[in-house]
Subunit: 339 residues, 2 copies
DNA sequence: TTGAAAGCGCTAACAC
DNA sequence: GTGTTAGCGCTTTCAA
């Protein structure tokens, strides 16, 4: 099967290939009759545009590079899903890269994007990213860039993130409003911004409602379900008094839930539990788990829209970074509803 | 910032651009000294290869098109994660497309892949796909194609799928071996191959172990968690006797679990429950849910490897489709362990 | 409304 | 070991 090019169509119709090119691109200066003839011949010959050639010549690829730590994390695969939807609806395709939280792979991915001359990049940085050279390179090359979820503040780049502080505040506020007074918070032992923000929200909510901030009620660790269990066990050993638990993640919250049930603690009568992330299982467990939704699909869509906006603005030389901060959503379920 | 090409490097070094091209591609006929000089100059000028130009000339893009129904389904995002890992390790990048189970979008995606001259395509068809023309077109164009999970048998194309029959058999066999005798199976009311296969495995396992196949114990419906609950409620109303439930999906199984607990039925003493898919929440609920693991990451990796193999075979004209069928893994947890 | 011509940046066959 | 040359298939400017 021979490759069909615009030249073949041109020969068939006794016009030049540039007329064919124009007709296929719906150029206004081409007569309707010619367009029709070209389209029919293209169809008949089973012609298919070569985007590579088109990109080389025009300088546009209609491809957007998307780099995430890992698709195995539901949060990111959801965001990518949202990105793909919007980008595809606007004629762009997605070149996908997983960094696996490795700085080396991240650099390699961005290098590939740049070599592939993508029309824009959407990125969520790795936890290892301390060296920003890859991203500086993107900026230097004037390739539109938007961060989502994990951004680099110093670079003054457009981004879409979620207000984790507000999420922490809202979760805590909800527990307080339900009448809980001694709220245990499980947070991470590593310095990760989003978790620190949730903690800050927790503390501020307590203060706002005039409740004491008790350091004994702030527990740090890896945030596995197992750790959730450990926290509850140790709290019992120490005779720690608490009537609610706000865990930084739904998975941690599940560990808490299980251990409390093992101790025959009534949820939410004696102790309330709320998680974070709105994982799919939250509504399937007993009692159903209250949580904070992070609006993943929306984040992807907003990030994509922001990039598209940036690409338009390029033309008019406007270059003010826009930082969209999404509000997390409180999802109240049985595990924390006592009123 | 001016665009740097191999010509700029050539000028700096007083060699021709083809020497530069060879040096950058590590051509054996270029002296080490020249290579070094070229690399240093490239670095200094911040040169970056233009993959578009390279692809146009060479006919290779190093891009693989991947089309899935939706990344919001954990199963698919996991598989894509596996695909990306292997492909990236072999120098390929992923162009990603979501069909959203729509035939129109599927066609559009494949059209884009073909126009982008991808070096291969990995696809999981939509539930709507009855017209195979898009895939026939891929084959006609001699673009290597591998199906994963959802394949089109008639096309005689390489594929990686999971043995759902065996999954159904294994789940049922496990329950029988644990001493359960009246096993309720929840399946789909729509004609979906994988679910029919699981059902077939269920039936064969019963027969193999000399147990009667009772139509009353096979319940069809949408397979939401809600439906799982409904099944248990109705079984009670009808005084249906059963001592185990094999649900076609973990989500359905969760509904079953919850309703049984609401009825104070002891799991697994009175009734065992097993699901399918090994969703992340299975080990977090009480009791932990037994299930069948579908080896998603492995499926992605195998599909990627198969495509790579196909691309090599292309050269030697071998073209026998290879159909890899992965064995599902039985994961025994508390919900079905009574021995 | 259409044609002519240049060239995007690279690869690769052939030459020396 | 390096240079010469011819495109890959398209977009786009200028001309008619």
């Amino acid at each position: 099967m021979k490759k069909v090019t615009i030249l073949d169509i041109a020969k068939e119709l006794n016009v030049t290939f540039s007329t064919v090119a124009r007709a296929l691109n719906d150029h206004p200066a081409i007569s309707a009759a010619t367009k029709k003839a070209v389209r029919e011949t293209a169809e008949r010959l089973n012609y298919r545009q070569n985007k590579i050639a088109s990109s080389l010549r025009s300088g546009r690829t209609n491809v957007i590079g998307v780099i995430v730590p890992s698709l195995r994390v539901t949060f990111f695969s959801s965001v990518v899903s949202g990105i793909e939807q919007v980008m595809n609806a606007n004629g762009y395709n997605i070149l996908l890269y997983q960094s696996n939280e490795s700085l080396v792979k991240e650099k390699k991915g961005i290098e590939t994007f740049l070599q592939s001359r993508v029309d824009g990049i959407l990125a969520s940085i790795t936890t290892e990213t301390t060296d920003y050279s890859s991203y500086e390179e993107i900026i230097k090359r004037k390739t539109p860039l938007v961060f989502f979820d994990r951004a680099i503040d110093q670079l003054n780049i457009s981004s879409v993130t979620i207000n984790d502080y507000k999420g922490g505040f809202t979760a805590t506020e909800h527990l307080i409003q339900q009448g809980y007074k001694r709220i245990l918070h499980i947070t991470a032992d590593r310095e990760i911004l989003i978790f620190r923000e949730r903690l800050r929200g927790y503390i501020d909510a307590l203060r706002y409602y005039g409740l004491p901030v008790d350091d004994d009620l702030i527990v740090k660790g890896d945030f596995s379900p197992e750790f959730g269990k450990t926290v509850i066990k140790e709290a019992r050993l120490k005779n720690l008094e608490y009537d609610a638990v706000f865990a930084l993640e739904d998975f941690t919250a599940m560990g808490v839930l299980q251990q409390l049930q093992e101790f025959n603690v009534k949820i939410p009568e004696e102790v309330a539990v709320i998680g974070f992330a709105n994982e799919s299982f939250g509504s399937l467990v007993t009692p159903q788990l209250s949580t904070i939704d992070q609006q993943t699909i929306l984040m992807g869509k907003e990030a994509a829209k922001l990039l598209l906006k940036l690409k338009k603005a390029e033309l008019t030389q406007e270059e003010k970074p826009e930082k969209i901060v999404l509000d997390p959503l409180l999802i109240v379920r049985a595990s924390s509803r006592r009123k």
